[in-house]
């Protein structure tokens, strides 16, 4: 079977891990169908004995029926269990992949989209991929294999019926393609209206304050009502055709049963003489087996929406499951950085030569949007680039982030520091007395701390970095949101605390020139090392 674009995408994205195979699930489904067909055979034979011969069923045949039905039932249970395990296993693997990508690219990735977007990965996208693979992909095979088996049995029993079915069956997919094309055409024609009107309700819910402020709630409610009426009319136009697809299946399967019943009945009566000799046994078996020809295809149709959902998910997940390519183990100690022909693709940035020796202070300048933040993220290893810093580096962002827990948890983040050390660092950033005067001290919850200003929060964040004892500090405009006096104070604090560390500092605001040993200027996607004092 030709690989669908979705399958190709998944294979490319997950080249580093192996998803569990689908063969066992397919095998069980096929086995189930085989046993059911056999059970139908035994049942037809029993019915033949009862009604035509007038004898109670042969005990051997009864046993056969019992074994086949029980086998079918057991396989059904196994199939459910397998599907369950398959689902859980795949969910686990995909979640791991996503989690690893998050850990690899960290803030560089997360900050690009709103939190809600990432939550949707858990809520919607990963389950969509897994459901598609567990149900739709398995059924795709079953819907081809089972009808072939059923057709073989029917051929064996009665080649005339088999030939008739073989002639008419290809019409089914043909009709489905025609119907599908028709529905797709209608959908395209109505596409703009459908996309515009489809999400109007949630759009207006999000705009409630605007509607209230402009006194437009009642007018817009009427508008929504009209729009949903218009949307419903257009949707019905599209689905009227789309529903035909499943009706085509229904039409053929129902009509096939009806016509075969009439043909067999009339042949038994001797009213019709076409094809081989028909017995009640062979007739009933064929009749019972016929629905299997299309029922699996119908089931595939029921899973069809999973494909569309998985396609939507694949767009949202592109690049989020991929292998962890950037992972190169680096030494703990920073011994300088030297990169010739530094290149980064997203966004494009190049440099002929970049050099840092331990203890250097580098200022990064450039207009907004030049890629300063991206450069820091690449140096920290959160973004793919030709070079990254070796050794432990810490990053300070514009808006310091805090967990909802206690001050202590916020400072420690999983490490265990003695209180004396915590207070020492807080003292260093000028928050020592303010925090020791709080009734609960370090155990005060962040929410209960009296309002901290932007500058104070940034000091707390600096205290947290000081505890980490890293050799390299990457500063991404830590004072951008602060007024002038706080900016000056925080900068002096950083200078004081990090004098003997390596610092790479992005800032729009003015900084003391003599603090820095080099300036990296970014312009037109090039980084130039413009000035070197040492």
């Amino acid at each position: 079977m030709r690989q669908s674009p979705l399958q190709q995408w998944l294979d490319a994205e997950l080249s580093h891990v192996a998803l569990p195979g689908l063969t066992p699930a397919i095998a069980v489904s096929v086995g189930k169908a085989l046993m059911l067909i056999a059970a139908f055979g035994f049942f037809a034979s029993i019915a033949d004995q009862w009604i035509v011969t007038g004898q109670p069923a042969d005990s051997l045949i009864t046993a056969g029926l019992a074994i086949m039905l029980t086998g079918h039932w057991i396989l059904e249970g196994i199939g459910q269990h397998l599907a369950h395990r398959l689902r859980t296993r795949q969910l686990y693997i995909l979640e791991q992949c996503f989690s690893q990508q998050l850990m690899l690219r960290q803030h560089a990735l997360v900050r690009t989209r709103p939190v809600y977007h990432w939550q949707l990965v858990w809520q919607k996208h990963i389950p969509a991929i897994v459901n598609w693979r567990t149900d739709y992909c398995v059924q795709q095979y079953v819907a081809v294999i089972v009808p072939l088996i059923a057709l073989t049995v029917i051929f064996y029993m009665n080649y005339f019926i088999g030939a008739m079915l073989l002639l008419t069956l290809p019409v089914v997919p043909l009709f489905m393609i025609v119907v599908g094309k028709g529905a797709a055409y209608l959908h395209r024609r109505e596409f703009t209206a459908l996309t515009r009107l489809g999400s109007l309700f949630s759009d207006r819910l999000m705009a409630l304050p605007v509607l209230a402020g402009t006194g437009a709630h009642v007018v817009q409610q009427q508008h929504l009502k009209d729009a949903s009426l218009a949307l419903n009319i257009r949707t019905m136009k599209v689905v009227s055709v789309a529903f035909l697809s499943s009706t085509v299946l229904d039409f053929f399967s129902t009509l096939a049963v009806a016509l075969i019943a009439v043909y067999i009945g009339f042949s038994l009566l001797g009213e019709l003489q076409m094809g081989p000799q028909v017995t009640f046994f062979s007739g009933l078996w064929v009749l019972l087996t016929t629905p299997l020809l299309l029922s699996q295809l119908k089931k595939l149709g029921q899973f069809y929406h999973q494909k569309a959902q998985a396609e939507a998910a694949s767009e949202a997940l592109a690049g989020l499951l991929g292998p962890t390519v950037m992972d190169k183990s680096t030494p703990e100690i920073f011994s300088g950085f030297s990169a010739s022909d530094f290149t980064m693709q997203m966004p494009l940035l190049k440099a002929k030569e970049l050099r840092i020796t331990p203890g250097d202070w580098v200022q990064v300048s450039g207009v907004s949007g030049a890629g300063k933040t991206a450069l820091l993220e690449a140096l920290a290893g959160f973004r793919q680039a030709s070079h990254k810093l070796a050794g432990r580096a810490v990053l300070l962002t514009q808006q310091p982030a805090f967990l909802p827990g206690t001050l202590r948890e916020n400072l420690c983040l999983g490490y265990a520091y003695p209180d004396s050390q915590l207070y020492h660092k807080l003292q260093q950033v000028g928050l020592g007395s303010a925090i020791s005067n709080l009734p609960a001290g370090l155990d005060t919850l962040m929410g209960d701390v009296p309002a901290l200003s932007g500058g104070e929060l940034q000091r707390l964040a600096i205290a947290r970095l000081l505890l980490r004892d890293a050799q390299v500090w990457l500063l991404d405009e830590p004072t951008a949101h602060l007024p002038e006096d706080q900016h000056t104070n925080i900068c002096r604090l950083i200078r004081h605390c990090c004098q003997d560390k390596t610092v790479i500092w992005v800032s729009h605001k003015s900084l003391k020139k003599d603090w820095f040993s080099a300036i990296w200027h970014i312009e037109d996607q090039h980084i130039r090392q413009v000035q070197e004092n040492i």
């Binding site: 029926l65 998050l102 605007v210 419903n232 067999i264």
Partner: protein
């Protein structure tokens, strides 16, 4: 609420009955033909079989069509009702909730198509089969009674259990939402964690509950299948008297063999009760904040120990003129935006807010308007975006558009947002100001209008504010100083914890 969709239900039942009948009648027909009693009228059943086939096909399409139409109409009615409830109200966490509410209304509306139609089919078919069995004296009629009883027990069991699972699901989903939110908001700290000490959120508990729900419905089908097959084996191994030479003896085993298809599915859909209940609960438990509209007289605005409730900020005491420009400055995190929202009445406040001499209660103040930092652009035409209440003439709209520097947007029927033109950050800010001007507001509370604008657009906006300041009071929260802005007074926001800067700096 719309009444019961009888047509769609009837079509669903007809579809189910025709499907089962065609199999049973066909099997009986060929049996009867094999035995062929004297005077057997074979034409009638042959016609009946073909008629059943046509009924099955037509009712199948009809049910899908009518059911879907009904579903869409129901969703529209539910949404209209919900939107009506929201007049003078706000919902928290709008982005998340807006999507969820869309989905919930659809779930509630789809209960007929997805669940009730299936169960109704079973409820009608089972007694009908029993009646037919008794009337035709079918061998094994007792098994239909057993099957019906067991089906009822299983369906009730599935409903009860799935409601339990749904309750757990709500908790697990909430926990995941909270955990993941806290986790993602602090992504800039991940690299500072002690190795192995950072707990990542996982959706496995949520997913495993979803799996449990699914396996509940699978187990229901499986149990019905076990029972039906067992009864077939019993019937065959210990045949009742009167099965021999009797074509009618075929019917009950055929019904039993097909039971997983026609009966199993209805037991499986009973888990829909969980989804339905969850959605209905979410719709009725919707936490709304009432924001009434109050009218304020024109005059000076006086604030006494005024602060936004529930936000960290220092109380403000100040007097704002009737017209002019007032800027609110201060470091981020001191509540500039909260102050503006509390002034407009978007969020509740502490202290006193006087307009002229009248002390204003909580609520949205009529001739005042808060303009968001990232203004909402409605998914609508430009005309609706400017004037959502549809009160102004086209000429007026174009005039105001030109005055805010959006004169190049002349096509009022142009669609903005998804499926249309997207506005840049600066354009949407100016659009929001145009929208405010068209509502005849006297006081505009503008949140960070200059952030993200280039120098040219910024200066256009400044001159617009300067012009407006003769007739309006414009309160601007900003940390960017625009030099040509004619500021009448400035409110400086400060904050709590005192920092001893001397101690920290050298």
């Amino acid at each position: 609420m719309k009444s019961t969709p009888w047509v769609s239900l009837c079509l669903a039942v007809l579809h189910g009955i025709a499907g089962l009948s065609i199999l049973v009648v066909s099997a009986w027909f060929i049996a009867a033909c094999a035995v062929a009693p004297i005077g057997f009228n074979y034409m009638l059943p042959a016609v009946a079989i073909r008629a059943l086939a046509l009924i099955r096909i037509a009712s199948g399409y009809g049910h899908m069509w009518v059911g879907h139409k009904d579903l869409l109409a129901r969703t529209a009615v539910l949404r209209d009702g919900l939107f009506g409830r929201l007049l003078h109200h706000r919902i928290a966490r709008r982005a998340q909730l807006a999507e969820a509410l869309s989905a919930h209304t659809e779930t509630v509306a789809s209960v007929w198509v997805a669940c009730i139609a299936q169960v109704a089919t079973a409820v009608i078919v089972l007694p009908a089969l029993l009646a037919a069995g008794l009337y035709l004296v079918l061998p094994g009629t007792i098994f239909i009674v057993v099957l019906g009883m067991v089906w009822l027990a299983i369906t009730i069991g599935v409903v009860v259990k799935s409601l339990d699972v749904a309750a757990e699901q709500v908790l697990a989903e909430q926990a995941l939402a909270e955990r993941s939110e806290a986790y993602l908001r602090t992504s800039s700290l991940w690299h500072l964690y002690a190795p192995g000490q950072h707990n990542r959120p996982t959706a496995m508990p949520v997913w495993s509950l979803e799996n449990r729900l699914q396996s509940l419905s699978e187990k229901a089908v499986w149990t019905i299948q076990a029972l039906a097959f067992l009864m077939v084996i019993i019937m065959v191994a210990w045949p009742a008297a009167g099965v021999l030479h009797n074509p009618l003896a075929m019917i009950v085993p055929m019904i039993l063999l097909a039971a997983p298809d026609w009966l199993g599915r209805s037991a499986a859909t009973a888990t829909f009760a969980a989804r339905f209940n969850k959605a209905r609960q979410a719709l009725s438990d919707l936490s709304l904040r009432h924001v009434p509209v109050i009218t304020a007289p024109v005059g000076k605005i006086r604030l006494q120990r005024f602060a936004a409730r529930g936000r960290p900020m220092e109380p403000v005491d100040t007097v704002l003129p009737q017209c002019g420009i007032v800027t609110v400055s201060g470091p981020s995190g001191t509540g500039k935006s909260s102050l503006l929202q509390a002034l407009a009445g978007e969020i509740p406040f502490f202290g006193k807010k006087y307009s002229d001499t009248l002390s204003l209660p909580q609520g949205l103040v009529e001739p005042w308007l808060y303009v968001q930092q990232a203004p909402t652009v409605l998914q609508a035409t430009l005309r609706d975006n400017l004037d959502p209440a549809r009160r102004c003439s086209n000429d007026k709209l174009l005039e105001v558009l030109a005055s805010v520097g959006l004169g190049y947007l002349t096509e009022l029927s142009q669609w903005l947002g998804a499926g249309g033109r997207t506005l840049s950050g600066g354009e949407s800010k100016r659009l929001a100001i145009a929208r405010a001007l068209l509502t005849n507001k006297k006081v505009l509370l503008v949140d960070e209008p200059f952030e993200g604008l280039d120098v040219f657009s910024r200066s256009k906006l400044v001159s617009l504010f300067n012009t407006l300041s003769h007739t309006h009071l414009i309160v601007i929260a900003t940390h960017i100083r625009a030099s040509s802005l004619r500021v009448d007074c400035t409110v400086v926001m400060n904050s709590g914890l005192t920092v001893t800067d001397q101690q920290a700096s050298i």
